[in-house]
Symmetry: C2
DNA sequence: CTGTTAGCGCGTTCAA
DNA sequence: TTGAACGCGCTAACAG
């Protein structure tokens, strides 16, 4: 077994209480005994029993994150970045990260969240990929459980969140395409139950409107954020009587699929047809042609999310309850 | 606050002990009281306090995994699959998953592992990407801490592990290329401190030898598993007096980078030069051209890893202490 | 069948 | 400046 306070106490001849206080730097312990106890603790290889601390402090010092895993083999590299950010942000405050996975919208989802909440395994939860109407957030709110979300919702729930201005991002991308001379621009939307799908679609529509371009319903198709679906939807767009000369995809993965579909028809992406993605995942720059995309700093977002959450857990005030970051259009080759 | 055993006990008029036993289905509680207690617990919305259980049972029901995060923006989608597999495998046994990140070979690494081990936050750890000489495994072994590794080591440490036969995988890939008529075949190795780099390189060399091909040292270059490095190394190979007509990369990411480098020189991958990867990450099939690669079932591997680990934690015997899986060559377009 | 007693390892009153 | 006593929520040994 491992060293406990009791062991140290026995060794130094002080009570467990004093040892505890010495180790936690209470100022009602004499400097000498403090030194002594700390030295002995060090020598004996003492490490606090985190679980016992949690029980006593009523604090786990752990944040939870449920990866919205799509089917295996369709996972989005994006989540690894987000995860790393959340984990590192948490670690910087001595918090750990508990991870589960669950298919979005799965009936099991509620259970997975409940498991974390009811079992009090974590002090707060990071919710990613908010939905227009998000039961997860509603649930956490109803339980009074600390949360922070990556994304907004359409409902009037009030909760702390961080989001990227996808509306603006897509708007700028479309304006850029129009500037390049494109008149028929397609949009492969993310699944429309996702809040950011709405935002991005809105950006697309507004840009067309502002430039007096017709908003042809046939040019908007709905994907599910996977390459496979991006590929299919692109085929659909290219099969149109009057196919688009440029396409904005709701995320990079779909853009990759879309590029593949175009190339299989002998089109040269960046010359015959322009493709723009969203996210700027690491691979985007190494695709052929390199993908023009709307960049969001995912790792940093993850970091900020966990730091916001920990502030909330600590009962501190948040400077802003809702932070909106501006994305950045990264122009590479796929847009011509 | 939330409902505890005490609350239920008070309500039903039994002792805390009896309530605990009833809820845990001990058979020394009368059927009626059991029913009663369970019903009331349900009504009151009781959920066991996992932390308190952990303290008492000396078991956290949690496994740990430290993601060998390379620099941000260079993360390997592969780890998300692995993570999902580990998480799901654990969940199937009612275990949770605690995740940290750490740069491989970072001085901080030891601290991160110690944190999990000494704090007794987890019952066991999954170690990924084993090194030829792996201090992490040596450490865990020295602490007598349950572990299972994805990969072998060069040392004679005895520990449970699961690995893919990379030697065989690359051997087959090279034989396949030779069958296609290639005579000058390059190899972009993973960082050589990684054990699987040795295996894969060995497969490459053996295949050349078995086919009486010269083992030209210039054809073997060392990468670091990132697209960027794959790109650089491919340039290096193409700059050779006698460049290779085919290249096997140590993983898919480097293969992507290599393809990009070839394409930038106007070479058509799959016709002018063949490229083969290793892993079969989701994107491989959607690259242009689609990547021929050596597939390892990462998600399933993750699942098996956590299941092995949990067996060990439970003190059960492992059927095999060392499992070697056979990878599968998936032929697509990049190999011509 | 059920309750009492004892911890798991720690932090925190309160008295001395 | 220090220690005894208590409790966090739960399980387990032992009586009865």
């Amino acid at each position: 077994m491992s060293v406990t306070l009791k062991d140290i106490a026995r060794k130094v001849g002080y009570s467990v209480t004093t040892v505890s206080r010495a180790l936690n730097d209470y100022d009602d312990v004499s400097e000498e005994t403090k030194q002594l106890i700390k030295r002995v603790a060090q020598e004996m290889g003492y490490h606090p029993h985190v679980i016992a601390q949690s029980l006593q402090r009523r604090r786990t010092n752990t944040v939870g994150f449920i990866v919205p895993a799509t089917d295996r083999y369709l996972s989005d590299p994006y989540f690894l970045e987000l995860l790393a950010g959340i984990g590192d942000g948490a670690a910087s405050h001595d918090f750990d990260l508990l991870v589960s996975t669950c298919k979005p919208m799965d009936p099991q989802e509620r259970v997975v969240y409940e498991r974390m909440v009811r079992g009090r395994r974590v002090d707060g939860i990071v919710v990613a990929r908010t939905r227009c109407d998000d039961e997860r957030i509603a649930y956490l709110l109803s339980e009074g459980f600390p949360l922070v979300a990556f994304g907004r919702t359409a409902s009037d729930l009030d909760f702390p969140c961080l989001d990227v201005d996808g509306e603006r991002g897509v708007y700028e991308a479309v304006e850029y395409l129009i500037g390049l001379g494109h008149r028929r621009i397609g949009f492969i939307a993310p699944s429309m139950y996702l809040m950011f799908a709405e935002h991005r679609l809105a950006g697309y529509k507004r840009a067309l409107r502002d430039n007096d371009l017709e908003d042809d319903a046939a040019l908007v198709v709905e994907g599910n954020l996977t390459q496979a679906r991006g590929y299919q939807r692109m085929e659909q767009l290219l099969d149109l009587e009057e196919p688009p000369t440029a396409v904005v995809a709701g995320n990079d993965l779909m853009a990759f699929g879309a590029m593949e579909a175009a190339q299989e028809r002998g089109l040269v992406v960046g010359r015959d047809v322009a493709v723009i993605g969203f996210d700027d995942v690491p691979l985007a720059a190494y695709f052929h042609p390199a993908l023009t995309t709307i960049r969001q700093p995912i790792y940093d977002i993850g970091k900020m999310l966990s730091q916001m959450l920990i502030k909330i857990i600590n009962g501190e005030e948040l400077a802003e309850r809702q932070i909106i970051l501006q994305p950045e259009l990264v122009i590479r080759e796929s847009s011509g």
